[in-house]
């Protein structure tokens, strides 16, 4: 049996923890067919692509293509400065996010992304190479800093 004298502080601790977790800036699942891109306003439909910028206050901006995130950030550096997290959709796994800094990116002109950036995100180099093989080779491999530097 639990000592009743201990259960109250424990409950408070649990509650506090829950509240803290609740406040955490977490990515939100993209509702394809409903959510609108914060930059180009197109409805997100292609499950291979998607980007989220989560601010420190927990506000989530969703984008259909990496190029929209870049445009958004360049237009409004202040708001992007408050970004706590940047996540991208794993090309191979619908609605699974990868940290932008951890993902590997393939640029390929045969990737028909919603806004024509031709950039897809993969969890690792093996999966990227597999996709690249299916596209007949070519293209270019990028890491996040290089994606940020694309014009």
């Amino acid at each position: 049996m639990t000592d009743p004298r201990h259960s109250f502080p424990r409950a408070v601790a649990t509650l506090t923890l829950l509240i803290l977790v609740g406040c955490d800036a977490e990515p939100k699942a993209i509702r394809y067919g409903q959510d609108e891109c914060a930059e180009c306003r197109m409805t997100l439909v292609d499950r291979h692509y998607g980007v989220e910028l989560i601010t420190k206050k927990g506000k989530v901006f969703k984008f259909d293509d990496l190029t929209c995130l870049l445009t958004f950030q360049r237009r409004d550096p202040g708001r992007s400065g408050s970004a706590a997290q940047l996540v991208v959709i794993d090309f191979n796994r619908p609605n699974t996010f990868l940290g932008a800094a951890q993902a590997v990116f393939l640029y390929h002109n045969q990737l028909h992304t919603p806004m024509g950036s031709g950039l897809a995100a993969f969890a690792n180099a093996t999966e990227l190479e597999a996709a690249r093989g299916l596209l007949g080779g070519g293209g270019r491999i990028l890491r996040w800093p290089e994606v940020l530097a694309t014009p």
Partner: protein, 411 residues
């Protein structure tokens, strides 16, 4: 010398050879379309008789006509692209094309046309394919009177009904498209005409332009799509006599304009949409003789829009005629009919004697605090709007229609 002579003779032979008809069907000369395609020469017609043909992916790499009698069915067995056309001067008419495959890296289509010009696709019915008709790097193609219906179950692999990428001078007329991602999608496609299509119930947009200039679309109807038409990052697009209705929902528009310029929107009807027209970063547009009836918002014009002219339009029964987040100083409203104007006309010239302010105070309020919409029919709001119209203080100063029409224009 000899090869040249031989070539000349062969050319002459090819020219003088009459176009043949190759019949395909049970108990015909050819049992499969593939065999007929292999035997055909440029200019021949392949006549396909009634039946179901499961031949995987058929590639048409010669300038032939494929004619279906009584709608023979080409079935992709849910694994393949059905018909791939890589030659110019090909025509395909009268086929049923069904059950195409889908791939995450390839855009599988019912009929795909790549790097070919003067290809005509007519009177085909395409069901349950990821992309219905897919054109890329092709010019002067004709897509006429086809029926294209996507399967609702194909969420992730659902492509566009008619998809054109990097094409020019296409004619897309008289098609019926439903159940796809976008009904008709044009990307980097120019100088094309899209007319008399009926586009209903597509997931995202009925018609979607991306980086596609100098196109015309007229007399189409867009019903119950996520949004009717989105014209983005383009210039010189003519939109005439189209019907936009029943795009309902929070991100639903009859017409969405984003980074568009030098275009005309004339004689269209916008009925029963959450928002009839939403525009952002769009300049030098002309809106003339359009009817806006019973929409939530008729016009949502962002402050980033300049040098647009709205004249001779009818605004009837909309909850809001115009909202904006700015002053819209550089835009002009002239001679429109506003049913909310309650104007008078003492000199009887058909023009209201006082200028009219189409943005109401309440519309401004809702723009800033969306939840205020709850008060839509409240008498207090009505009173405030009246007071603001008499003594304007909060609504944009320059945003007036100086010559509001007393009666609806006959359109």
């Amino acid at each position: 010398m000899r090869p040249l002579l031989l070539n000349t003779l062969l050319c002459l032979a090819a020219v003088s050879m009459p176009a043949a008809e190759l019949h395909v069907g049970p108990a015909r000369d050819y049992g499969t379309i593939r065999a007929a395609l292999a035997a055909a020469r440029a200019g021949d017609a392949i006549i396909v008789h009634r039946g179901v043909y499961r031949e995987g992916n058929l590639v048409v790499d010669k300038s032939v006509s494929l004619v279906g009698l009584d709608h023979p069915r080409l079935d992709g067995g849910a694994t393949d692209e059905v018909l791939t056309i890589t030659a110019s001067q090909v025509s395909v008419r009268g086929f049923d094309i069904a059950h195409g495959g889908s791939g995450s890296l390839n855009d599988f289509a019912g009929i795909k046309v790549a790097n070919a010009h003067h290809v005509t696709l007519e009177h085909n019915r395409i069901f349950d394919c990821s992309f219905g008709i897919h054109f890329s790097k092709s010019r002067a193609g004709v897509i006429r009177d086809n029926e294209i219906h996507g399967a609702p179950g194909r969420n992730e692999s659902n492509g566009n009904g008619i998809h054109a990428w990097s094409c020019e001078r296409l004619e897309i007329t008289g098609n019926r498209v439903s159940g796809h991602r976008d009904g008709i999608y044009l990307e980097f496609t120019t100088d094309s005409a899209i007319a008399r299509n009926r586009v209903t119930g597509n997931l995202r947009y009925g018609l979607h332009f991306m980086f596609s200039h100098r196109n015309v679309y007229r007399e189409n109807s867009f019903l119950r799509n996520g949004a009717g038409v989105a014209v983005m990052y383009s210039h010189e697009v003519q939109m005439e006599a189209n019907h936009f209705s029943r795009s309902w929902g929070s991100a639903a528009y009859g017409l969405l304009l984003k980074d568009l310029s030098d275009s005309r929107i004339v004689g269209n009807t916008f009925e029963c949409n959450s928002t009839a027209v939403s525009m952002q970063n769009s300049n030098r547009m002309r809106f003339e003789r359009n009817l806006f009836r019973e929409n939530g918002w008729a016009l949502q014009v962002q402050s980033s829009c300049d040098d647009n002219v709205f004249s001779g339009n009818n605004f009837i029964g909309n909850s809001f005629d115009l909202t904006t987040n700015g002053q819209l100083e550089l835009n002009r409203f002239d001679g429109n009919y506003w049913d909310k104007a309650e104007a008078y006309d003492l000199n009887r010239d058909g023009i209201g004697d006082l200028s009219y302010r189409p943005v109401s105070l309440f519309a401004m309020l809702v723009e800033r605090i969306p939840s205020a919409l709850l008060l839509l029919r409240s008498p207090l709001v009505h009173f405030l709007d009246r007071a603001e119209r008499m003594i304007p203080s909060l609504t944009p100063d320059h945003l007036i229609d100086a010559k509001p029409a007393m009666r609806p224009h006959s359109l």
